[in-house]
């Protein structure tokens, strides 16, 4: 028994055995990829679909309504590999085997960063990076987990940015190339926008968001755990004077952290409103959000050592709830700001704001619950 798939070829419906359908989809995907630079792409694709449709119809009789996989295979062989006449210069032979086509000659061997769904844990970013740098995904996950802890969760933003920027490997082509091509800025920005809009529009986002929350909750719990361990280890080995010094460091680090956080918020505001940060304006052609992302990254880089000092010194003086609360408030403000930026720059986000506010409260609860 074979599963049958109903398809539409240029407006007419046909029933194909499932393996045949897979093959045909592969063929058409490949054809589309080869024609991607051709101005006639849509027309040629319609022509090809119609030609395939006619060949399918020829195999059917009143008592045979399904095109078999073997027939599909024969049809694909008859159709032959699709070549774009605009891209044929200098390359004469084309055997039709995947990877030898003239249109592939330029980009095939290049690696390309994709998110990979197979075996993903969250969005497939780690999986894609692992494929890209050719190491086991476990190492990437460990690295991400460690960096997340050391950056006090700051890496989450980098991760989210990557999740929006990197496309999924949807086709066999993509998966084959899940190993290639450097990004250019324009492509990167348009893809991030597109992905974000899709993310906002699809019903799926609710589920994603809940997963996100669970992820964050886990992260917070995890960080807290780390903090306790560090505190317990640091305490007993410190001398009296070191404890006093540690206490001073906590105060200084927390103050400096707060100042930096406020500076970040002010810098982002001035970037949004006046397009300059302390007299420094964005380089020509750099979009605003890239500038903001840069600021956030600088913030993370500068604030990480301070946090580590604070973490190291937290034990001796006891963990005062006030500092945790202050940190929580700053952290929350930062989050709200991110949401506000998203609200301003991505129209799809508008409807989500209510839920974001609700999530913000949840994060605040989590912060005070786990830290206090």
């Amino acid at each position: 028994m074979q599963k049958v798939v109903s398809i539409s070829l240029n407006g007419n419906s046909y029933q194909l055995e499932e393996p045949g359908y897979e093959q045909l989809r592969d063929y058409l995907d490949r054809a589309e990829a080869r024609l991607k630079d051709s101005p006639d792409r849509a027309e040629v694709m319609a022509d090809l679909e119609q030609a395939i449709g006619e060949k399918c119809r020829a195999t059917l009789t009143p008592h045979k309504t399904v095109v078999s996989s073997i027939e599909v295979e024969r049809i694909i062989v008859e159709m032959g590999p699709v070549e774009s006449p605009d891209a044929q210069a200098g390359n004469a032979t084309d055997t039709g085997a995947p990877g030898t086509g003239s249109a592939y000659a330029g980009y095939r061997p290049r690696k390309r960063l994709f998110k990979i769904r197979e075996g993903e844990m969250f969005t497939g970013v780690c999986n894609g990076i692992a494929a890209y740098i050719n190491v086991d995904v476990t190492w990437v996950r460990i690295a991400v987990a460690l960096l997340t802890v050391f950056s006090w969760g700051g890496l989450i933003f980098v991760y989210l940015a990557l999740a929006f920027i990197i496309p999924y490997a949807e086709t066999a082509e993509d998966r084959a190339a899940a190993f290639g091509m450097p990004f250019n800025t324009e492509e990167l920005i348009s893809r991030a926008k597109k992905n974000f809009e899709e993310f906002g529009q699809q019903y799926r986002w609710r589920r994603e968001w809940r997963r996100q929350q669970r992820h964050w909750n886990r992260q917070f719990r995890h960080m807290n755990e780390q903090l306790r361990v560090a505190t317990a280890n640091a305490g007993p080995v410190m001398s009296q004077s070191a404890r006093a010094l540690g206490g001073i460091f906590v105060v200084i680090a927390a103050l400096a952290g707060a100042v930096i956080a406020v500076a970040l918020i002010l810098a982002i505001f001035s970037l949004v409103v006046q397009h300059t940060v302390f007299g420094w304006s964005l380089p020509q052609g750099m979009p605003l959000w890239v500038g903001i992302l840069l600021l956030v990254m600088i913030y993370i880089a500068v604030s990480t050592p301070l946090r580590m000092v604070r973490q190291g010194g937290a034990g001796p003086v006891g963990y005062h709830p006030g500092w945790g609360a202050l940190h929580g408030v700053l952290w929350l403000g930062f989050m709200v700001l991110m949401f506000w930026l998203a609200y301003t720059f991505f129209p799809g986000v508008r409807e989500l704001v209510d839920q974001l506010m609700w999530a913000g409260n949840l994060v605040a609860d989590t912060v005070s619950e786990t830290i206090v």
Binding site: N10, A31, L35, D47, Q50, G80, V82, D86, A92
Partner: protein, 107 residues
């Protein structure tokens, strides 16, 4: 390098010329073009022919019209445009000169 590999680019380059010659006669459907080309050195497939015809149409050398078929959706029948006819006679001329040049070299 085997001989066929040397000849393939020549055939490929001439395919466009051959297509213009075919559509210069009556209006033709792609399946009929393939049948005509099948027994010749220029045997080709839909995967090559459709993109080539779309390119020729973009260059305004050929055009098509829709015609009802007895079974299934209407089909595209291709024909030569006046511009295509001019180019075809230029190509014919060029081909003759090429033959003459080759003959002049002898052997």
């Amino acid at each position: 390098m085997d001989l066929n590999e040397k000849l393939a680019p020549i055939r490929k380059g001439l395919l466009e010329f051959v297509i213009l010659k075919i559509v210069a006669g009556d209006k033709v459907y792609v399946a009929d073009m393939l049948k005509l080309l099948g027994p010749t050195e220029f045997a080709t497939q839909e995967g090559t022919l459709y993109p080539l015809l779309s390119k020729l149409r973009r260059e305004e050398l050929v055009d098509y019209e829709w015609q009802e078929s007895e079974a299934g959706p209407p089909r595209k029948y291709y024909k030569l445009t006046p511009k295509g006819r001019t180019q075809l006679s230029t190509l014919n001329e060029y081909w003759k000169n090429l033959n003459r040049t080759l003959a002049d070299f002898g052997n």
